[in-house]
Symmetry: C2
Subunit: 470 residues, 2 copies
């Protein structure tokens, strides 16, 4: 329902109605708790409104030959946002209050002030959950016209697609928007200071991303920065000139939306990357929780949702001890093809001695489904502990990557190594056979002709069989 | 290489070069063993030559607007088969012998006779692996012209697509061929004696298969049989008449290719469904093994491959004890959308008391990816043990079903229940979120407002957390 009773103390006040906040509101309401949900912008958060949902819709529209794809994507997005809005309004246990929230101080950290630009209201709650999200960073570029600059927040509000779009940055947002706008006929130039895209992924993955973007007509300017604009002409540090850049999309990173929350007043600890919170969303102040982008530990919708689900349990079942950590959280980029990875970061992986890990690379084209479906751009890279087969990190680029990665997520969460996955039967001909192939390659590589190695494997297998529980 | 030395005793003679036989030949050769591979027909087996590969290629051709899709699919199939053939010919440890094999008797069960229609040769080996596959069953129908009848073996050899195709049967082959031929413009009528398609799957799944086939223009005649043909006109038991059925595809089932093998001479035990063999491929005769369709225990390429891989290990590492059973083998149907299921059969599930299981149903449209991709035909059905969450059976119809099912295959193989999967983080927005949703629904359904139930869950969670190993 809309509105709340300022004299009542609710079970929770949730600040922000993105992925994290909605998870909290719906989850707590599902336990029968009354929740006040505070949102100054659109219900649904960035992903629904200005992120992967409209960019995926735009791609779908472009591929389906829809007439005004930008308008269609906007309508599709608005419809989903509207459904989420309605769901909140109709929920008997959720009280939607529109406005911007701030904490009111250490004397009572559980009172939240909400300002809608005119009036100010107070919300009292036993628990305050801060899920305010993040916003894109912008930088000044010499000679750029402020009207020319957009972030992902403004990109989908343009009346018509730009004829030329220069994207500054080479991460997930940059790639998703480059893919979507190239598909509807915009000339896309992407300028990235590093010498490759998506630097959080392995070069074996990103080279495929780069190749496929180029084949979609996106011009990549890697290892370059924009030095200045002269109208719609951009001069790059590499000496290249990009003409016809009507619009400039800033996609160089995100920062937590901390301003205005008055976290200091309430004594909530922060660092440069956001509010300090643990795997259950607990902050430095009892009864104040933080989930999602605002904590800086995850910048994905599903990451926010995952911590949010744990926070729901922590608030609803307070006597259940808070042990165990959140499962591994996959990273994804919705380009064409999709990219997904899970496990250690590349930096963490580098701390594992090379002699104690083994890498397996499988191309989609190596399995028959890749052949029947003519898949040139698809690859799986798995890094595993050499002797145990424990999966350290897995990354996939190719069709269905964001679904296929789930098998590695489950494997890592449950300590299932490649030697165990060797026994998993995948349908023929499915893309999942790349995972069987990786398990095969790993297992066969650890065999050699030396009887000693055979016996080591045999003993290992016996040990595992004994521990097997079905 | 081609040919063998009749005086030499090889490590293994493999009869049949389909999925099971190729797995054996390549696997044993990978261990450095010399293998004789005997095949009277095409290398690659039914799936590559007359099954899911050409039917998938046909679909791909139809969707891509290729001019002569049947010819294109045939070329694509021939190319893959040719590659597999070449791979066998070029392999230094594989000796390809073309012809039909038979055993030579109990006095020496490890001598195989090969007849190529003209000459007879003998092959001696320490191990004989029978992977001869299965063939489609045909029935007589009154008035049918024998030229009119095809099985999947002849379907792709037709010079041009039939204008009208009547399919007898409603299983995986019938659905795959109906989907593929409807896509290239053939009028398809499907006659199935049962009142629904794919009776090995739950009605909640098959109703979607039926709806999507109908929307593709396939006319379904369920609960009916063909009583007689009058030229291209079929008279059904329901009283319906199907006109223009130029061709009749028999797709009512498969039987093992036992004839000619002289299994009795060698003393190899059989039943009505095929050669009796265990999870390692062992038959009743020492040193004689059987894998794949010919055993009747699995009728899928990947099932044959899975047992074949174990047989490779059993032959190559004879001193490793044969403990542990094969992982669960998924069933799949490559229609549009795909169908996949894993775990107990419906009959096995029915033996579990209803009070001790709980069913969760999630529509693809319930998660945001289903919304952005406009997916009307997609559903997940999971049956789990009510108190433990152990997955008994999972079935998916929808895009990517044959990949998504892998998460349940891994879960069942490794004893990971829905309460554990509740903690797995899947990317947003991915189809995999149907699995998160199922785990959510299950976990929330097992909660109630009764404190007793909460505490039972809390204790359960505590117990699990303690056992967690990462």
């Amino acid at each position: 329902m809309i509105g709340h009773d300022p004299d009542r103390t609710y079970r929770a006040a949730v600040i922000g109605a993105g992925s994290g906040g909605l998870t909290l509101a719906i989850g707590l309401a599902g336990f029968g708790h009354d929740v006040v949900l505070i949102e100054g912008g659109r219900v649904g958060g960035d992903c629904t409104n200005v992120g992967c949902i409209p960019s995926k819709a735009l791609l779908h529209a472009a591929r389906s030959g829809i007439d005004d794809p930008l308008e269609w994507a906007r309508a599709k997005r608005d419809d989903l946002a509207h459904r989420e809005d309605e769901e909140m309004i109709e929920h008997e246990h959720i009280h939607l209050v529109r406005g911007w929230a701030s904490l009111t101080g250490a004397s009572d950290p559980h009172v939240v002030r909400v300002d809608d630009g005119g009036t100010t209201q107070l919300v009292r709650a036993e628990h305050v959950v801060i899920a305010g999200g993040s916003r894109p960073v912008t930088i000044d570029i010499d000679g750029v016209d402020t009207d020319q600059v957009v972030t992902n927040e403004g990109l989908f509000e343009l009346e018509s697609p730009p004829s030329g779009l220069l994207i500054v940055g080479g991460g997930a947002t940059a790639i998703e928007m480059a893919t979507a706008f190239a598909a509807i006929g915009t000339q896309v130039d992407l300028v990235e200071v590093q010498d490759r895209l998506l630097s959080s992924e392995d070069p074996l993955i990103t080279e495929i991303v780069e190749r496929s973007l180029r084949s979609q007509g996106v011009r990549l300017h890697l290892g370059a920065t924009v030095e200045r604009f002269d109208g719609a002409t951009a001069h790059l540090s590499s000496g290249s000139i990009v003409e016809g850049a009507d619009r400039v999309l800033m996609a160089i990173g995100r920062v937590p939306r901390l301003d205005g929350l008055e976290l200091d007043l309430a004594g909530v600890g922060t660092t440069r990357t956001g509010i300090v919170a643990d795997d259950w969303g607990r902050t430095s102040v009892d009864g104040i929780w933080a989930v999602g982008d605002i904590t800086g530990t995850t910048l994905t919708s599903h990451g926010a949702g995952a911590i949010g689900r744990r926070t729901v349990r922590a608030i609803s079942l307070p006597r259940v001890p808070k042990v165990g950590s959140v499962g591994v959280i996959p990273n994804v980029t919705y380009g064409e093809p999709e990219v997904a990875s899970v496990g250690m970061s590349l930096a963490e992986l580098a701390t594992v001695a090379e002699s104690s890990r083994r890498r397996v690379v499988v191309e989609h084209a190596d399995v028959d489904r890749g052949y029947t479906d003519d898949i040139a751009d698809g690859r799986l890279v798995v890094d595993a502990e050499r002797f145990t087969g424990r999966v350290l990190r897995a990354a996939i680029v190719g069709p269905g990557a964001t679904d296929l990665i789930g098998m590695f997520t489950i494997a890592i969460d449950n300590g299932i190594g490649l030697r165990k996955l060797f026994g998993t039967v995948h349908p023929y001909p499915s893309h999942a056979e790349i995972i069987r192939q990786a398990a095969d390659d790993f297992t066969l590589a650890t065999l050699s002709n030396l009887p000693r190695d055979w016996w080591a494997m045999a003993r290992g297998r016996l040990g595992r069989v004994g521990r097997r529980h079905r």
